[in-house]
């Protein structure tokens, strides 16, 4: 169990990227990225940095997952 924490700290340190966006940018673009994921819609701009942020940030990632679930529920897809 303790090992998990240590691994995560080490992973996040070694996998640091020269340029990472923060939570504000992620929040700003999250709706566009959600449409892209749900509908395989074309993107006008690359959202790779948002994808990276979602892998690195627990807060944003749980919000994003819930957003996808909420949209599926609201539109009756699930």
């Amino acid at each position: 169990m303790e090992l998990e924490y240590i691994k995560q700290i080490l992973d996040s340190a070694y996998n640091i990227r020269p340029h990472e966006v923060g939570c504000d940018d992620c929040e700003e673009e999250m709706n566009e990225y959600a449409d892209y994921v749900l509908e395989e819609k074309q993107l006008d701009k690359p959202l790779n940095l948002i994808k990276d942020h979602l892998e690195l940030c627990r807060d944003c990632s749980e919000e994003f997952q819930s957003l996808l679930e909420a949209l599926n529920s609201a539109t009756g897809k699930k």
Partner: protein, 204 residues
């Protein structure tokens, strides 16, 4: 029937009261349905939290229609705001009795006195060595603030939104603080000649 973005905006801005109220009621219903679906297995998302989150989102959306730039579906934008409200409230209530110091203190003994006997002795000693270096890096290359945030985040699993609230700053600033912390740790570990490969081998 799904409304197009223009329909949402047009109806919500309409002078025709019936048209506007119908759109508000539709949006409210969709937000509630979405939130109930997304949080149905999460006991922390109480009915009050969900209803308040939907209501607040509705107010914010209708007051800020001009800030919607049309880059996504309108409902996706509105739902994002509602989801954020739910998390913000769940995090606040869930962590209200735990201070930042308490959260970061949890991490110290875990890292300092680490031992896991499910590994071979050679692996264990290699792990112990890396962990010692990591602990050294945490103490020597991080500021007090970086250290507190790192331990609260990784070990106590405190949401960074909560770390931010308790530090009196915003989430973006905490992400940046943690980014700098990760950068410093990496630099310190690399200079202690621990590579990513060493780390992976020792902990696989």
């Amino acid at each position: 029937m799904e409304r197009a973005n223009e329909n949402w905006i047009g109806s919500l801005k309409s002078d025709d009261r019936l048209k506007r109220d119908t759109a508000i009621a539709d949006l409210h219903m969709l937000l509630l349905r979405g939130l109930h679906g997304a949080f149905k297995t999460n006991p922390c998302a109480t009915p009050t939290i969900i209803e308040d989150a939907a209501q607040e989102a509705l107010l914010r959306v209708t007051a800020n229609l001009d800030s919607f730039r049309g880059e996504s579906k309108f409902l996706t934008w509105a739902m994002k705001i509602a989801i954020r409200n739910v998390y913000s409230e769940m995090r606040r209530t869930g962590w209200k009795d735990i201070s930042l110091d308490q959260a970061s203190d949890v991490g110290k003994p875990l890292i300092e006195n680490f031992a896991d006997d499910s590994y071979s002795p050679e692996k264990l000693s290699r792990q112990a060595e890396i962990i010692e270096k990591l602990w050294q890096a945490i103490n020597e290359s991080l500021t007090e603030k970086q250290k507190t945030a790192l331990l609260a985040d990784f070990v106590a699993n405190m949401p960074i939104e909560e770390i931010a609230r308790k530090m009196g700053t915003n989430r973006n600033a905490v992400y940046k603080l943690l980014y700098d912390a990760r950068h410093n740790l990496r630099k310190h570990l690399m200079s202690a000649e621990i590579t990513f490969d060493d780390m992976t081998k020792a902990f696989s």
